[in-house]
Symmetry: C2
DNA sequence: TTACAAATTTGTAATCATTACAAAGTTTAA
DNA sequence: TTAAACTTTGTAATGATTACAAATTTGTAA
């Protein structure tokens, strides 16, 4: 799916973030790559067309977007934060074998929390285990990547 | 609550882990400190009585226990894994202001996943936001710690 | 346009949790 | 007793993330 700079600027505006070339590029990447990329995935990919891009800018932009609720940060793999443009809330499944992260509709679950002790900002649900591709006991092939 | 070495050895045995002085100490710490400590919390605390203890041993023991299902590792704070001896499954709430992590009974939620695509090993549910202590808008005091 | 302040980006140098690894110590079982 | 297997220890990487200051870009008022 293509996303114009105007579309993307509108999303930024809604999050009260001024559009810059770098911020548009990062958000566009997330819109067009729904594979839950890491900072490094994003940085390396954008660097090809934008060699002056700094890793720090990617970090700054991602945390800003996440803070304003425009994207989600997923702490689903130890030591590697993944990012997700999430139109509607959903859960995730991460395969321990191949590392792939799948989206799970939240209709399967009901995870509201009404507890007077807390003012809830975010709900995070994730599962880990083995995906079907990796579960076949006859298969000896183990693939390790995040793109599926 | 006190826990004898025998009690703790029984938990280790159930997880098919041989008891050693170090492993018993780490597991005992988790049993007696239900505050979701980090590796460093555990290491620093145990070091007082056990000066020869190595941080690597604490890591090895915690991952071994988590791998065998005897304890939970919580990726609830970026860059700092917390650990939890969990008798029965429950969710967590982490306050963004003070860092405290609270237990939430899972009766509030229903998070089973029956999806033919996946063989589920673990279910992780956590909330973030502001806890009641920190939510008072008149309070100017911001405390940053994990022990509550 | 010019000038200046504010915001943003960049690159480098820390920081810090975690892991790798090999040497030393301990346990087990024949 | 002995050797293999297991465990612990300490040190040295690794690698994601952050701090920070200089450079660049943007917005705005004259």
């Amino acid at each position: 799916m293509q996303h114009s700079a105007t579309d993307i600027s509108a999303i930024l505006a809604k999050a009260d973030i001024k559009p810059s070339v770098q911020r548009i590029a990062v958000l566009r990447y997330l819109l067009e790559n729904r594979c839950h990329p890491t900072v490094d995935d994003i940085y390396r990919s954008l660097s090809v067309e934008m060699p002056s891009l700094s890793r720090t800018t990617v970090y700054n932009t991602l945390w800003l977007l996440a803070e304003r609720g425009a994207i989600l940060s997923l702490d689903i793999e130890r030591g590697n934060t993944h990012f997700d443009y999430a139109e509607c809330p959903h859960a995730h499944f991460r395969c321990n074998k191949c590392g792939a992260i799948y989206d799970i509709p939240l209709t399967h679950t009901c995870v509201g929390l009404s507890d007077a002790r807390f003012h809830v900002d975010s709900i995070n649900v994730y599962y880990t285990g083995t995906c079907k591709k990796c579960f076949n006991p006859n298969s000896k092939i183990k693939i390790q990547n995040n793109q599926h």
